[in-house]
């Protein structure tokens, strides 16, 4: 279990997670990068500046 930096929710990081892997927070959907695995630590992933919307 780790904590989302955006919304503070718990985020389950699976056992074989590797540093650099991207997860989305199940609560707020923010993309989080696994920056460390022992213990699992998350940071907001760099925005992909997707073309979303108009």
């Amino acid at each position: 279990m780790s904590t989302c930096t955006e919304c503070g929710a718990d985020v389950a990081v699976h056992d074989d997670a590797e540093a650099g892997e991207i997860l989305d927070c199940g609560t707020c959907g923010t993309e989080l990068e696994v920056v460390d695995t022992a213990p699992p630590t998350l940071e907001r992933a760099p925005d992909l500046a997707e073309d979303w919307g108009e």
């Binding site: 955006e6 919304c7 503070g8 929710a9 989305d24 609560t27 707020c28 959907g29 923010t30 997707e50």
Partner: protein
């Protein structure tokens, strides 16, 4: 022969329910929800215009139901009476209805406000004000504690429901005190009910962004009553049939961060079965979207903070004929009668879906 209208449910169901105004849009949704509800068995569905016709002749989704409309004047005694007639009808019949039914759930505006004075201000007065103090506002996110045992329940207005749900966490956190709030609402054509004149014909109503209530919408009264806050309200009709989306522009006194807001919304809605917070994230649906909740009793709420000036923008999306009326009514009845809160309201929405 269709599958729906499941005999098993109805046999096991022990609570009888009738629907007044069952040929209307909200009434039709009541029938749909009650027909699939494990606790209720539908007794009567009224319509003056379609009396004796099958409900499926008006509501094609209910073709499988073996039920015909009856006259509202022929109402039998029943456990719960749901009423979805236009404003004014419930005031007229409330005595008779309360005699006939242990619980009356009225979806109109007739019992939403607490005092006769409010009806004088916002409507054309009230003809049965003695019932006002008995009435409980249906929205369980606000009234959960008052609903158990209530025997007169007043369903909230659809735009009021959307607005209240978007702002409630801010109100509870004290962030609306002294705040200045603009509410800009977008709604679908089913809000107007099944009647409809030239302005709601397909050719005229399609594709509009029509400011149908530039100022002075009556739902302001409910919002003020429930949130203790007067808002600047404007509503636009847009090209969808179902859905109400409220964007609230709030200028709180001090600075608020997005993380604060996540906490605030979790505080209010963490245990709510029908409210989902959607505020950013990824994918195509990053904020509340009416079409994502169409057909369901869910509300989506969300927010963003304007880095320029600290403005908090909240978004909320509901299906006006479910969470904004029929679903809210069933939800309130579930709480009032002590059923499981989500009984009969577990439908998922659809994806993809066009413009429901």
């Amino acid at each position: 022969m269709a599958v729906t209208g499941d005999a098993t449910d109805e046999e096991s169901a022990t609570t009888t329910a009738s629907v007044v105004g069952a040929s209307g849009f909200a009434g039709g949704e009541l029938l749909r929800l009650l027909a699939g509800h494990p606790e209720f068995a539908v007794a009567q569905a009224t319509s003056r215009e379609y009396a004796n016709k099958t409900v499926g002749s008006v509501h094609p989704n209910l073709r499988g139901l073996d039920l015909r409309f009856s006259e509202p004047s022929d109402l039998d005694s029943v456990d719960v009476l749901f009423a979805a007639a236009p404003h004014g009808v419930a005031m007229e019949h409330v005595d008779a209805w309360r005699d006939a039914a242990g619980t009356v759930v009225d979806l109109s505006a007739d019992f939403r406000l607490e005092t006769e004075a409010q009806y004088d201000d916002w409507y054309d007065g009230h003809s049965a004000p003695e019932h006002l103090e008995d009435a409980v506002y249906a929205l369980p996110e606000i009234s959960r504690d008052d609903l158990p045992g209530a025997d007169l329940i007043a369903g909230g207005g659809c735009n009021a429901t959307a607005t209240i749900l978007g702002l409630l966490p801010l109100a509870e956190a004290g962030l609306l005190e002294g705040a200045h709030v603009v509410v800009d609402v977008k709604v679908g054509s089913s809000e107007g009910g099944a009647g409809g004149g030239a302005a709601s014909s397909h050719a005229e109503r399609s594709g509009v962004v029509r400011p149908y209530a530039p100022t002075g919408h009556r739902h302001e009264a409910e919002i003020e009553q429930e949130l203790g806050l007067s808002v600047s309200f404007t509503a636009h009709a847009v090209d969808m049939v179902r859905g109400a989306s409220a964007t609230c522009h709030v200028f709180p006194d001090g600075p608020v961060s997005k993380t604060d807001l996540w906490g605030t919304y979790r505080e209010t809605y963490g245990d709510e079965p029908f409210v989902e917070t959607v505020a950013g994230g990824s994918g195509v649906y990053r904020y509340p979207e009416p079409k994502a909740v169409a057909g369901t009793n869910k509300a989506e709420v969300g927010f963003e903070v304007d880095p320029e000036n600290g403005r908090v923008v909240t978004f909320s999306a509901i299906d006006n004929v479910v969470k904004g009326s029929a679903g809210q009514a069933v939800h309130a009845a579930n709480v009032a009668l002590g059923f499981a809160e989500t009984a009969g309201l577990e439908q998922y929405g659809m994806h993809p879906v066009g413009s429901p």
